[in-house]
Point group: C2
Chain length 357, copies 2
């Protein structure tokens, strides 16, 4: 029986983890800073790493909080800055775990469809002018999960203007931003207006998800509320891992590691795009991502998602698509490509094509 | 000016951290298991450590969840098993961070005074028979924070009988249980009846608080609710640190390390008891702890807590006592003794005596 090919989770491959370098960083930081990092610490996190991050945002460490991944910080942001019944806007499809968090907190959710990877700015503006104004608008502008889309500069600027006019907060998730395989960086939304944007990101896709080191950059008042809630909930986060990551950066290893990741993943992106071209062109459309972990297929009229039995028979695993949608999702398939080899990708897409064509 | 002597936080001293052994364990686990522990993992935590813990509770790994410290798990337990308005009983005084968590969740709180370290079982039973029945009763039976008290066996058994009759859950916090300097272990409440008790503890006091590795042992249904909430909130916890701690245990280092801690802390306990005897006998009473991090002084009639100015002048730091109480606390002073040297302890108690006598 053919090997299982898992398209279900957006995770980095084990071969991407810089084990030897992490061992050396662990040795150094426990030896040199063990007295501090093995103790309880500041609920906002390990100061040197917060300072390094804040420099990349032209801010101060007081605007940065570290978490056990960035999702934890989004959860705490929801608990400290939003209330049940508040309206939140999303790209649709969007990151399923984020939708789950906002749903759990009893928010009203409204999605704006990504058409060929882009939301319709007119539709957003019209919604706002009709009096439907959110407290927050969650977006992943760079290599979106699950579609792979990049938000165009014009829409970034327009969203900021609308946030200013209608006084809502943009939550910018930058988890994939540093993994660009083609083209030039566009400005982050937080760079366009730090008053109206909070930025969340992590080292999960740059070094290791299991180390659980994420961060949020926001105004000091928001960060202080998060810090108080974090301290009351779990005293402080894990400084050992934050110190390991900071040491990894200080040793100048990050730049080379990112280049290594880009080489590894760009080849896999090429593989999936060519496999889609070879096998799915009849049944679906997709965007060509310039970075990140994902592409997503939109099935053409008349083509249907494979059901669970068909997937089991072909030994492929997909994530249930409706998780990415507030409503609908029947014609979308997310395809993470980084944790599969080119051979697996080609074989997996071939099997998928046999089910949907 | 004399050095500051800080009696405010119940933390282990930096000299207790087994740095060299942790470096070696970090090297081993990243090298041998990096592919797994640097990846996202089971929301319940690192399986080998959960299995090791479950063996110590005659349970199964499915009854154990790991957290970023045990307080995080208590917070998630509150969010998944209790509701605002639910009644919760406590020893009084009790761990201040726990009170904060239950208060934040809108619980009704009722305390039972520790008199000479023991709650009045008759008072508890009468309260229950009068129809005031809690959803949960939070206790720290072994070397309680902040009093240092140990719950007598008779009261342990009686609490279990009452929990069975009135169908409430006991939350047993065992953070200090393994640090016994005198006498024999009493049974844990969870050993007396695992149906009515959930047990929370951590490696913070045994290895390092900064590693943030805590756990909760409970019925499978409760654990599954916690696991679902944990996954939705932060995907998974930090496996690297859990693996380091498991390796530390597997190498047979834990037993010797606990003996080393007991030697170190027993000497400090002797120092504080003799300093109290020498300086505070006129103004206060205290219990003589058989283990743990704390003793607490109850001021005699006519003696008052030093105020902030007096403490600053004498260069000593105390924790504000009302945090340990649902109401009151004016005549109580918590004295953690593990993170101070015998000389600091003696000098600190002398200075304190000058303020209260």
């Amino acid at each position: 029986m053919a090997d299982i090919i898992a398209f279900n989770r957006g995770v980095p491959p084990a071969e991407s983890f810089p084990k030897e370098q992490l061992i050396e960083s662990a040795r150094k930081v426990i030896s040199n800073e063990g007295d501090q990092i093995l103790q309880y610490g500041n609920p906002l996190g390990y100061e040197p790493l917060r300072e390094w991050i804040s420099n990349r945002f032209n801010g101060t460490p007081a605007q940065v909080i570290m978490g056990q991944g960035s999702l934890q910080l989004l959860d705490i942001f929801i608990k400290t800055s939003l209330e049940a019944g508040d309206m939140v806007f999303f790209e649709q499809p969007t990151y399923d775990r984020t939708l789950t968090l906002f749903r759990r907190a009893g928010m009203e959710l409204k999605g704006f469809t990504l058409r060929n990877g882009v939301m319709d700015g007119d539709e957003i503006e019209e919604t706002l002018r009709n009096g439907i104004v959110p407290k927050a608008f969650y977006v992943i502008p760079d290599f979106q999960n699950p579609s792979g889309a990049e938000m165009p500069l014009e829409l970034r600027k327009r969203l900021i203007r609308l946030a200013e006019e209608f006084r809502f907060l943009i939550i910018e998730d930058g988890a994939y931003r540093h993994l660009r395989y083609y083209g030039q960086n566009l400005p982050r939304l937080i760079d366009l207006n730090p008053e109206h944007v909070i930025h969340m990101s992590s080292f999960s896709k740059m070094i290791s998800p299991g180390m659980r080191v994420g961060f949020m950059v926001a105004g000091i008042e928001i960060i202080n509320r998060l810090g108080k809630y974090a301290e009351d909930s779990f005293i402080s986060t894990n400084f050992l891992n934050q110190a390991i990551i900071y040491d990894f950066i200080q040793r100048g290893l990050m730049e080379d590691h990112i280049l290594f990741l880009k080489d590894l993943y760009q080849e896999r992106l090429k593989s999936i795009l060519s496999a889609l071209e070879n096998h799915i062109v009849k049944s679906g459309t997709w965007i060509e991502p310039k970075g990140g972990f994902f592409t997503g297929v939109n099935l053409k009229q008349g083509f249907k998602q494979p059901d669970a039995n068909m997937l089991t028979e072909k030994n492929i695993v997909l994530m249930a698509s409706h998780g990415f949608f507030i409503e609908g999702g029947d014609d979308f398939i997310r395809l993470p490509f980084c944790a599969l080899t080119p051979a697996q990708i080609n074989e997996g897409i071939k099997r998928l094509a046999e089910l949907i064509n």
